[in-house]
Symmetry: C2
Subunit: 429 residues, 2 copies
């Protein structure tokens, strides 16, 4: 059983709340670096291995710069993610661009930055060719594969790639590689994402074997030797205390076993493994620190906090579980049942429903776990709610604000031509 302790002590969390105010997303630099290094170690048997951090998970330049120092690249799927990667110093092959239904301007910037474009569909080939001048494609490109049907990871763990909008069929991907070769591509990759947030150790090895076998088939049929296999994301984290974390060393070893048995005999032993494990790397190393404003006792007990779904939408959108620690009451019995709610005017704005927790007092600090990925980034402004700051707990123990709070001025920005919201001083903004 995973005990789910916050990565900072109650004293430190109280100190941070006092200095910076609540709510805030707090990230742990030491934890994320340690975790990334462990991942890299698990795949160190592959000389070309590289992690491309999914910017979507946590699009903050201060975090990306740390990841870059640690030799990660970025996985982007939009214009702004490309801009952020560029400004953080990621160059050329350090940027993977995996997008679907892609606007021209996004492809244009990906081409300009010489990012590695991972084509979602064969219909995108013409677009990239046109935007690249019409004569040839970039020298290094990738294709996204979708095997269709149902993909069973292990007993009872499965997903439905056949219902997913992503990727090409087996026939299409071969057609794409052949066309790409004729248009000047010299280094080819393959990419697939079949299961989301899986804590099974079996997913990556099974996916790897599938893609390795396809690489062998492509070599046999087309004479094209793939340079890399991008296993993408999908390795999950234990959001619930009763879940076990996956064993990244075992996963790395099992991918190696598939590599050795499938690729080596086929002469594909110099193929590089790429991963895009945003959630795995960052998820546990972020927490949402929020203070209890109101206790409400009607047909249930409610603890109303100063964060809301604008800061963390996963519970509202997916009914996702996020563990909650009442700071300073870690040892108290969880003998009360609360709904932990935000103030957004939607009944799904609940960080927890019927959650056993220690007795909560107004003013208590709550640490909502595992918001390091798909937390801040998934926030919205529904109900006119503003998104809050991000803080970084640095390796030396100091804390740095790495994103400021949104203000009403930000909220009204796209109405700037109206003249209505220029001077907001009377509202204290």
């Amino acid at each position: 059983m995973n005990m789910k302790k916050p990565f900072a002590s109650p004293e430190k969390l109280r100190e941070i709340a006092a200095e910076f105010g609540t709510p805030c997303h707090l990230y742990d630099a030491s934890g994320m670096i340690r975790n990334l290094r462990r991942l890299q170690q698990a795949f160190a048997w592959n000389p070309g291995y590289k992690e491309f951090f999914a910017v979507k998970a946590t699009p903050n330049p201060y975090l990306l710069q740390i990841l870059r120092q640690e030799k990660a690249g970025t996985d982007c799927s939009s214009l702004t993610e490309l801009i952020m990667s560029d400004r953080c110093g990621f160059k050329q092959e350090e940027i993977m661009f995996s997008s679907n239904d892609t606007p021209d301007e996004d492809f244009k910037l990906a081409l300009k930055l010489n990012a590695t474009i991972n084509l979602d569909d064969i219909s995108h080939l013409d677009t990239v060719l046109r935007l690249n001048g019409g004569q040839k494609l970039p020298e290094k490109m990738s294709c996204r594969f979708n095997p269709g049907g149902v993909f069973e990871v292990a007993n009872g763990i499965m997903d439905n790639p056949g219902d997913a909008k992503y990727g090409m069929t087996r026939e299409q991907i071969k057609q794409a590689y052949a066309a790409m070769r004729d248009l000047g591509v010299r280094r080819f990759g393959i990419h697939a994402f079949l299961v989301s947030n899986s804590t099974s150790n079996a997913y990556y090895p099974k996916l790897a074997k599938l893609l390795f076998e396809l690489a062998v088939e492509i070599k046999a049929e087309l004479g094209i030797e793939l340079s890399f296999v991008n296993l993408s994301g999908g390795i999950g984290i234990p959001y619930r205390p009763e879940q076990e974390a996956c064993d990244i060393e075992a996963i790395g070893a099992a991918v190696k076993a598939a590599y050795d048995s499938v690729l080596l005999p086929s002469g594909l032993g110099s193929l590089s493994i790429y991963t895009e494990l945003g959630r795995y790397i960052m998820g546990p190393y972020g927490g949402l620190l929020t203070r209890v404003q109101y206790l409400k006792d009607t047909y249930k007990l409610y603890a109303g906090v100063d964060a809301c779904a604008a800061d963390l939408m996963r519970p509202a959108m997916y009914g996702a579980y996020h563990h909650i620690t009442v700071v300073g009451k870690e040892a108290w019995p969880a003998d009360h049942i609360y709904d932990v709610t935000g103030g957004l005017c939607e009944n799904n704005d609940k960080f927890a429903v019927d959650r056993p927790l220690p007795l909560i007092d107004t003013g208590d600090l709550l640490f909502i776990h595992d918001t390091g990925a798909h937390g801040y980034s998934m926030g919205y402004n529904y109900n006119g709610k503003l998104r809050h700051q991000e803080l970084l707990l640095q390796q030396d123990g100091s804390v740095r604000r790495i994103r400021r709070n949104e203000t009403p001025r930000d909220y009204f920005a796209t109405l700037d031509f109206s003249g209505l919201f220029e001077d907001l001083s009377e509202y204290g903004c």
Copy 2:
């Protein structure tokens, strides 16, 4: 059967797309005004009747100003909604403030604007008293009621107020009224919201009867005569073509029947009826106009458009149905099955799944219906996607841009202290 035609002709929609670009939310001023007037007419039997438009539904000042000219007020539940209402000229009793788990600064502004505060919980009384100087409460206030349990509107149509975070119990609300009277409140209201998006004609009358009976009980027990009953929102719209719209005249008449039978005999015949029908008023008078960028044929047919869940999240969040018209192909047979997808890197970014539609070509314009409420307002920036413009089709047939597109600069605004995103000209931004 509701035929679900867009409120503008194919020619007009093409003209708008050509002039302003896609995607855009387009609103129909004539339709919303006509609909609001019809609602007001249905309740004209009540001299104090007033509609308070839920700003959350469509927080655009140009729309609010039209609604204000048409004698609607606003229903706010956050600081920015209060600011917007004030800047649009809504004054004092024209603003209802119904919030839950409310930050102090929001209450402060509501007090400053002399908006009518609708208390969600008895625990908020002390806060409002403190923020109002500690001696007395505002002269006009309201309380939100939650009857608990299950509320059955009609056969099979029900909701679970007992699981909702909103409102006070019967005992609490009486306690609150007694305390409020002692603290200077002279005009009292009651508010309840028990069912969301109901197209049953039975919801409002049944809710009204419940609240009217409670008003009688409060008069008998406390000697307090309520000044208004706020029936709030909940009246829905027919998102699906096979759904019938509710009959607002029948609803108004049935509320009057309850009024006459319950309130008149109890001497409460001067009580005002308030409503907060954002979705009902605006929902059908907005559409998301988007262009098909890609057609994809893998295990399904996909039509990839230039809008995404950043512009309209209801399908991703709730699996909500939004009808789609392929502009110019209204008379074609719907003999192809498509998933209509956006480019956000999430598999739930689908405006429609397995939807029968006419044959779609790249470049076709799609009109996604009923985005007039909870459309733009619920957008997010996940995956670094930007939210798009809002346009108003004015009564004279001209079109006005009432919100501009978000830009990368807006997206990076809360990182303005980083120095990384000041000059974005190299990206064409």
